[in-house]
Symmetry: C2
Subunit: 310 residues, 2 copies
Amino acid sequence: MSTPIAIGIDLGGTNLRTAVVDREGRIIVKRSEPVDVHGGPDVVIARIVQTIDALLAEAHLPRSDIGGVGLGTPGPLNLREGVIIQAANLPGWKNVPIRDRLRNALQCPVLLENDANAAAYGEFWKGAGRDGSDMVMLTLGTGVGCGVVLDGRLLHGHFDNAAELGHMIVVVDGLPCACGQRGCLEQYASAAGVARRVMAARGENTVIDSAYVAGLARSGDAVCGRIWGEACLYLAVACVNIQHAYNSAAIVFGGGMSVAGDFLLDGVNDHLRRQRWSLADDLPALRLAELGDDAGVIGAAGLAWCAYAT
Amino acid sequence: MSTPIAIGIDLGGTNLRTAVVDREGRIIVKRSEPVDVHGGPDVVIARIVQTIDALLAEAHLPRSDIGGVGLGTPGPLNLREGVIIQAANLPGWKNVPIRDRLRNALQCPVLLENDANAAAYGEFWKGAGRDGSDMVMLTLGTGVGCGVVLDGRLLHGHFDNAAELGHMIVVVDGLPCACGQRGCLEQYASAAGVARRVMAARGENTVIDSAYVAGLARSGDAVCGRIWGEACLYLAVACVNIQHAYNSAAIVFGGGMSVAGDFLLDGVNDHLRRQRWSLADDLPALRLAELGDDAGVIGAAGLAWCAYAT
């Protein structure tokens, strides 16, 4: 008798990651490939099916072994209906019933989840949050993606958009954000935001990344030091607000900024010490993500296990 | 055969509110009386028992009709153990196992809850949040008390201190707060905070309240207008952050500031319109609390029903 497997999919604006995952969260086979989302949902769904079949062939598994498929995509999504309402990284995809279309193509159960939530669930299940029952993850990349696990379950909220903490306002009347607000966390503390601020401060067009900024900040560069420091300051404010909002056991940092490791954690902790509240000792532990780019596929597969495993 | 009743208790620093509440959340009899918390837990527990007996006598009900008792107190609390760890408004009360002591005195089940959470649960059950399954309440009084109901249940968090949104930082390096942080929401948007800021701006010692500030702001006074406007601005920031954190259907304002009614709601909404994010139409509805000072006892009784009703 064969053991069922789950498929985890992480569909981004430029990359498709797919993995065959066992019940313990181990990746059996995986693939990361460029995907042309401009071709529209039909082309992408065909590619997903093709990739799954190729991975199953590689692992010598029949399609009938699939217990469930978890699909993480950018949002906003309608989770109950399994629909991508729209997504900045999937141009032209509006009100796409991706869950049902993929289910029809694969003839097996499919669960749709916000990509940041899927990554958070991955870290909660098998990564930096595996020892607890709750956790907040901030993925500091192009924006600030976020997922919140409370009592073992992802928080979705009334409108399915809970845990959009990248759009928490940390500076009143601060930098404009593409979302329509001003002063959003992701303008100051995403990898792209930090790089953008350094480029603007220097008046240069040379494209840099947050690792470059962290490197120069470490070695005493004034502009990079200031902007990196402000990123840490606003992340500390976000951590205080997360502490008071969810009172979670841990906050996990992933994405490009987290490559700086302890330089990031120490920077945030320095500011936190100055903001420490005295009423209770309930500051979440700050940790670095452990699963890297696999968090999304592992989390998506884990959610499929939760939903469909018998 | 008699119908069981629940007792709801709201213990504050100066007042004890007690009510006999039926299964539908209707108050049968209630009492509000001054209480001397400096006398310590023994004196207060004796007073609570005395008050409950008096209320039961008034309603011609025997003690054996009590299905459960809900007790709301300031915190921080250890909810699992039913212990008041400490509370600014209950000086000298440290690590008081109030739940078990009241249970022993009454010989019936007692549930302990944070007072702001109990009030939020009251509004959720029978007040401004009764039509939904989730809600965030901000009680804008001496501080900013808060309770969050998600999927019908109060959010407690890993350390039992979730939903302390009065200590969300809205101004980095802002006004110092007694909690040890700076720039907490309650410095700018609590009834006491608003009054304090106006008094400081005027350099006067005459004690005023937030209703007075709202009245003068309405009639064009510059100082009151500015400080009331800033309260509304920071409440709008808090609402945006609540939207992105919990994505709840509604945010309910209670406490002294909410006496201003539409003047408060309109002020907050004005700022929200300027911060509106474009990714989804998921701003919680802003509402005024409906239960006034009864929210705490109704909520505490409701929680007792949830925990103990058969």
